[in-house]
Symmetry: D2
Subunit: 311 residues, 4 copies
């Protein structure tokens, strides 16, 4: 359970004080505000604030004075058009601010998405909590044999138990030593900014993260993808469900055109046209490398391929 009693009380007190505003309000998002969506064993995602809704995307695209007389269905059509034709700026007009608690190695993947605002808990100034990510049994997998970066088969019971034992005891020992080093009882106590270097990468950190909807979609496309590392994908999928409640029309367009869509190369498109005319196209006659051909076949069959978007 990631939250203390005091923290829960703070959240309840925030949710107990509705106020009046003239701004655009997303009812779906109001239901999420401040609440902690649990992720992994000690992590969470909390919506702290948001700006805009589906109508705001359209209003900016039209540079209009108000909501005008457009219907929800007009708005939905416009949003799909914008998404389909890569008009990204209207989606930048929505903004979300999250409070996230996450393992340090996940934070390191996350921060590569540079077009966002971040305030992280400072381990120079403060003492980190004794909380470490330990994978659930069903996520302890071996290195993939078909993909150089990623996981393959689940570990057997014995090996999994040994791994968990190592992760647990090393984290405990490192944290004990961290505490010992910074303690000033009977001694000086090492500076926090130095002592933290003894902590392993599965320790939890937390931050405020603010991003616009266009860049959030880009994050979700890479990190909610089947080939992203499971741990960051768990966060991305939690955020995805929140976004679906916040801007349902934009989310629908994103699902259809990005998450569920595919990009085909000039060669793949050419093969496709030939196939639709009845030609039998093979790896040899495709003009693609064997790897590209495998990926192309996977797209046509609906079975995901083995490549990964990085990490």
């Amino acid at each position: 359970m990631p939250l203390s009693e005091e923290q829960r009380a703070e959240i309840e007190s925030l949710r107990a004080r509705p106020r009046q505003t003239l701004r655009a309000v997303s009812e779906g998002m109001e239901r999420h505000l401040y609440l902690a969506h649990e992720v992994l064993d000690h992590g969470f995602v909390r919506v702290i604030d948001y700006m805009g809704d589906d109508a705001a995307i359209c209003q900016a695209a039209r540079v209009s004075y108000g909501k005008g007389t457009r219907s929800v269905s007009d708005d939905r059509g416009l949003i799909r058009y914008l998404m389909r034709h890569w008009h990204s700026t209207p989606f930048e007009m929505c903004e979300i601010k999250l409070h996230v608690k996450l393992p340090l190695f996940v934070a390191r993947q996350w921060i590569r998405h540079r077009t966002a605002n971040v305030n992280e808990y400072s381990a120079r100034y403060s003492i980190l909590d004794r909380e470490f990510y330990l994978p659930a049994r069903e996520h302890l997998a071996a290195q993939s044999t078909v993909n150089n970066q990623g996981r393959g088969a689940l570990l057997g019971d014995e090996e999994a138990a040994r791994v968990l034992e190592i992760l647990k005891s090393d984290a405990a020992r490192c944290y004990d030593h961290y505490e010992e080093m910074i303690s000033d009882e009977g001694k000086q106590g090492l500076a926090r900014e130095l002592a933290r270097m003894n902590l392993p990468a599965n320790i939890y950190t937390q931050w405020y993260w603010k991003v616009d909807l266009h860049n959030l979609f880009h994050f979700l496309r890479l990190r909610a993808d089947a080939h992203a590392q499971y741990e960051i994908r768990a966060y991305a999928e939690t955020i995805a469900r929140i976004v679906a409640d916040w801007v349902p029309a934009a989310w629908g367009a994103f699902e259809d055109y990005r998450m569920g869509g595919v990009t085909l190369s000039a060669q793949a498109l050419d093969c496709l046209r030939r196939m639709l005319k009845g030609e039998e196209v093979t790896a040899e006659t495709s003009g693609m490398s064997p790897r590209e051909w495998r990926e192309f076949e996977a797209i046509l069959s609906g079975i995901p391929g083995q490549e990964s978007p990085g990490g």
Copy 2:
């Protein structure tokens, strides 16, 4: 008067529908929402949406769960500390979205500030309105003789009248021809994306502009400065008054440390220390160039110098 009856009705209708939210609310900002603050002869600034308030800056700086038990005075002290020591990320946690109507040549200066989101009215898709900026009599000035970029003395009456006559008639003629070229009455009608090239740089355009508070402060520091071109300064000063109502503590810190503050070079600091010890420092013994020395004297005397922040 920049707004049509229909536009005013839309704004009133938006202001007539308060809704409930659990988000942070800035009362000072709610008063501004949607209203058109007039700028120049046909322009305006309208607040369309905002995110965060003074407390949100502190909450992000502390990476805290709620507002905690901190007092407003604690928050003010923290905000001043953050501003003084160039901790910019907590200020990035506030966001503002504006609808702005502005002359095209002002838009060209404005857009140089790249860390913002923009949706501009499309002259490929739509027809621009017949509205041109004509400077008020008191802004018609000659090229500065002490500064290569900027204005000097006011024009005399006769010259001013001639200038206004030119600006007015050229704008009218160019717009007449624009309308004629795109008209498809009895002919094909030139494409809008081509016809617009006949319009002069004082025609009005409009856009939605969204920016975080840190980058907005940067914009204001350069564009509300005495050396910025008057026309963009008029917009910056209008926005500055809005910001003062939105986040009063952050605005106060910004005024004290940025707008009202100065940056001294190593040489200037050295001179200052010598002067405070009673030494008579002159241009010759200062180690500065004549120009730097003049700027230094201007800072000490409180009389603004002649240099300009670009444009």
Copy 3:
């Protein structure tokens, strides 16, 4: 002819002085350095500097110490893999700096690409030249009747002649008045920053523009596209030819996966799978809107659709 004798002499003198460097050198790019590629009637694109080559992309992707023992064919394969799987950061490791002379209305479209560095000629400080873009006869087209933003049929001779006459005489008159207003002969002379507002949007400006290869590819995908406005496309196509000489492997991958590739929605992909199984899919059974279906058919037939990427 866009360059003066003096400017040509400067360029020749720069090209006459090869120097030694230990950096990566792209022979294809050295041939372009400083030379003016003419675009439109008075514009140009000049390569001023560049950083990196195809091998540098691979070196960064591998975070390696040198070029290692990899072959050119290994590098080509890696580059195609990176492009196919949207690994954008290695492409960011190449950089190009251009000097561009372009009509002001093209500059306004161009500047929307924010992730770049720009230094533009200042009309506050300097006097603009008397040079205006006048479209060639074959680019004077009517507003498109199938697309709300874009051009359709060519104008007839008479209408084209009238348009050119308007553009020419309005530009001349506006410039004459610009010169008259700033002149201080026998009068004060209006400040340049004010006088420029009388100049139409087809006047030429110039800037230094620096961008990394990933963001340049994004620019080219939108602006070298058939639906971009012709005038900016002329610049994009000139730059594209330069890029092909600079980083041939990256350019090849970009052509295959971006310029020549397509993105299909989840619905389109589903239709495709059904069609490949022999099912007759129609607009009605496709699950797509009529407009999406038309675009889908255009992709399969190879005939470009009517939608446009904005501008």
Copy 4:
């Protein structure tokens, strides 16, 4: 010694192959290319590529065709003017690409500077080396008692020895376990992306980092500052020396106006003016908080204060 024989051979081979180029060349920078500047116990900074020199800054500021006839002294004056008046865009026209090996906790501070391009060694794909940062004796300090984030007095011998013993043995054990977990000898072997979570924050990673000169100056101002954490400061100071050789005029201006300069608040400026007129100003009559007054006194006396720029 951070480099292997093979790596040294690669570097020597790169330095042994000068080529011809028409681009701007900085002789000071050519001397640094590819060489490893050692930082901390196992880290380094290597210049991989660069674009531009002092003259390129001026050329962009003037938007000129070549180097023209300006003298080095004209260029120096222009660069100082640009720096003094916060004209940042000409400095963005220079670019540097570094290969850096650094402890993970330093990488986490570094990556907060978002306006840069990064390719980091992937611990999903590759196995990290057994190299950990162990502070030198003279950097093992206690938590500061005057500053909530930072170091104070050096640790005594006994405590220092205990700290080093902990850091060393925990790092060794964690790495042994990392190797054991990923080993597939006689078992499956845990996926690398999971096993890495057991590694402490003093393990070394490496990346390619590319940044423009303006943003590099911003990085150096914060990270070469006396209040930055020592470990990142060690990198910043190494880079600073390289920059001084690359663009000596820009570096000189940066030193005078940023590193050696100070920013004074409106209140501080007011106090200063009163003091220069002979008034005795005290904390009480200053209008500043006690903390601000102490910082002001520190500036005037030349003794650095106790505040820190974050971390």
